[in-house]
């Protein structure tokens, strides 16, 4: 009797388990961009950006090259309608004969290719080539995608257009003022030594402004030109700060200006050192120029620390946060989202802000775009301004860049 009971209980349990099974299917892992199991195709050694998709367009594999070049935009690239259309075209090709790849080249399925442009996070033109992969049953609906970045040609075009737009807009103002004063000097004002002196002073200021503008514009286009190539050097933040300090130290010799440093040790970031120095210099320059209030002492705090991991305001994988904080006059909240626009300036162009080109933060944004970083600016009138720069950690791709 006991035996029967046990057998019955066992049977009930077995049936229950069997019934449960289909109801709790295992979900695929969340981090689908990561897995490269040995059973998969060896896409990592390919000297190109390669991705393997399944028949539904889900990503099966991403090789190191593609992950480093395109980061997490891979998803956005592959769901673009043009990429989807190419995928279904590639899948319509006949199934390759043998799973180990065809010996006869003529048997290979055709390559489907497409070219399109994405706007965010950086404007990119992409060329995709897709080919259906050979494989056994259940494995035959896979497609290999090779991604090529064709942004450079487009970027050159766009920069030319931008430059023309800016030249007509911003460069004309100082030029108009220069030619106005030249007219005046050739007229009656030229005879008067006091006025002549005054006018020449203004003209020098305007021509210096013009020169600054052109320098800045050229720098900005240089940054934009390689915006879509991620930096490969590993930089120690302490070295970075040393360079910055050397540059700005003379500016703090003036009465009432203090520079404080709060820097953690051993912070490594994947960055272009010259460009990151430029970022910090621009931010400090802004604090000095716009933060200062007559008579009040100005303190600027430069900090660098590890990003605390459970901080949902930054991307979840660590990284380094650089901070530039001042106790100056601050600004209204409605300026904040527009600060990184080209030529956007807080305040009327006649006051101290007129000295700036309106390009500093735009340059900062483009440099950080290239680094895959973030910029946050917090400010309130009378409460100072805090700029936080987040940079991704040197991380796993480090190994690759060190080998090269």
């Amino acid at each position: 009797m006991v035996l029967v009971c046990v057998a019955l209980a066992g049977w009930v349990l077995a049936v229950w388990l069997l019934l449960r099974q289909p109801r709790v299917p295992t979900s695929p892992p969340d981090d689908y961009l990561k897995p490269v199991s040995p059973a998969d195709l060896p896409v990592d050694p390919l000297p190109a950006c390669a991705v393997v998709l399944d028949g539904l367009g889900a990503i099966v594999q991403v090789n190191e090259e593609a992950a480093s070049q395109f980061g997490e935009t891979v998803g956005a690239i592959l769901r673009h309608p043009a990429a989807r259309a190419a995928l279904s075209a590639a899948l319509r090709a006949p199934v390759p004969a043998s799973p180990s790849g065809s010996s006869n080249r003529g048997d290979l399925p055709p390559v489907c290719s497409t070219t399109f442009t994405l706007d965010v996070p950086v404007p990119r033109t992409l060329h995709l080539m897709l080919r259906r992969l050979p494989g056994g049953k259940g494995q035959d609906r896979r497609v290999l995608v090779v991604l090529t970045d064709r942004s450079e040609a487009q970027a050159a075009d766009r920069m030319r257009m931008d430059f023309v737009a800016h030249a007509s807009h911003e460069l004309r103002t100082p030029l108009a003022s220069l030619s106005g004063f030249i007219d005046a000097l050739q007229g009656a004002a030229g005879e008067n030594p006091v006025m002549r002196h005054q006018f020449l002073d203004i003209m020098r200021q305007q021509s210096e402004r013009l020169k600054r503008l052109i320098d800045r514009l050229l720098y900005l286009s240089r940054v934009q030109a390689h915006e879509h190539q991620r930096p490969r050097d590993v930089v120690d933040v302490a070295d970075l700060m040393a360079v910055v300090l050397g540059e700005v130290a003379p500016r703090f010799e003036q009465e009432g200006r203090t520079l404080k440093l709060e820097i953690e040790d051993d912070l490594l970031v994947r960055a272009d050192e010259d460009e990151m120095v430029q970022v910090l210099l621009n931010l400090i320059e802004n604090a000095l120029r716009y933060g200062a209030q007559e008579g009040d002492p100005l303190t600027i705090t430069l900090s660098a620390r590890r990003a605390a991991s459970p901080d949902d305001r930054w991307p979840a994988d660590g990284g380094v946060i650089l901070g530039i904080e001042d106790n100056g006059c601050g600004m209204e909240a409605h300026h904040l989202p527009r600060l990184t626009e080209r030529f956007y300036r807080v305040g009327a162009p006649t006051d101290g802000a007129g000295q700036g080109t309106g390009l500093g933060l735009s340059i900062v944004r483009h440099i950080l775009d290239r680094h895959g970083g973030r910029l946050r600016i917090a400010s309130a009138p009378g409460k100072g301004t805090t700029c936080l720069v987040w940079l991704p950690p040197a991380g796993a791709t480090l190994a690759v860049s060190l080998v090269e």
Binding site: P22, T340, A378
Partner: protein, 244 residues
């Protein structure tokens, strides 16, 4: 037993199909928004037509996602995370469809704008568009990767979109006060800015639903708002770090 494994596999295939359709729909909608913005910023009429032409396809996909989701719910009795994902998909597809509508409305409106001689600066609108596009991209990434962190990020940066809208509103009103001939074009641009703001809102809705689907928790019903000036603001959103 063989039969049973077939059932499991087919269930997973259907779930995969659902995810694939969501990604496809996301891709089309992203493209529509990009085309609509290019229609205004570059005066590209071809892009405006292309954006409006994709509407029926998005509507069709919405219906397909709905019927597949209902089929999964009815026949497979999904549980826990899967159940939340499928129910979230039902709602997200509505958000995506609305975003597509707003994009094609922007595109159609762009064809009607006659820019006055004294150039109205479009750089503000362009930057706002970029911010909204970036939020949309992240929220669709959050769907396809079922990533609650990405969803949180979108949720936090909606405030920047709202602030942008307020700033643009001021700017456009100023143009209108300067010269009455600007009123026609500026009114259209105002509607475009509003539509962009609505797209941002729907992207945030999506982020909230993904967050719920992944974690089972709800984000606070009060979103971070633009009002407190002292609070931290996302000045610009940027590229994500590398995937490792």
């Amino acid at each position: 037993m063989a039969d049973r494994s077939h059932i499991v596999k087919s269930y997973e295939q259907e779930l995969g199909q659902l995810r694939s359709m969501m990604a496809q729909m996301g891709g089309i909608v992203e493209n529509q928004v990009a085309l609509a913005l290019s229609a205004i910023a570059d005066r590209n009429e071809e892009a405006a037509d292309a954006a409006a032409r994709q509407d029926p396809e998005v509507d069709q996909l919405e219906r397909e996602v709905e019927s597949l989701a209902i089929r999964l719910l009815a026949l497979r009795s999904p549980m826990a995370g899967d159940l939340r994902e499928i129910v979230a998909a039902l709602k997200i597809t509505g958000d995506l469809e609305r975003i597509g509508d707003y994009a094609s409305s922007i595109a159609r409106r762009s064809l009607r704008i006659r820019m006055p001689e004294n150039q109205i600066s479009l750089s503000g609108l362009r930057s706002m568009g970029r911010l909204v596009q970036e939020n949309l991209r992240r929220s669709i990434d959050a769907i396809t990767q079922q990533d609650s962190n990405r969803a949180m990020e979108v949720w936090h940066s909606d405030r920047a979109v709202d602030e942008y809208y307020t700033a643009l509103f001021r700017e456009l009103v100023t143009y209108m006060m300067e010269d009455a001939r600007n009123i026609r074009a500026c009114t259209e641009l105002l509607f475009i800015a509003k539509n962009l703001e609505r797209i941002g809102d729907h992207a945030t809705n999506i982020a909230e639903r993904v967050f719920y689907a992944v974690t089972g928790d709800n984000l606070p019903s009060l979103r971070p708002r633009g009002a407190p000036a002292s609070a931290l603001t996302v000045a610009e959103t940027m590229q994500e770090p590398d995937v490792r």
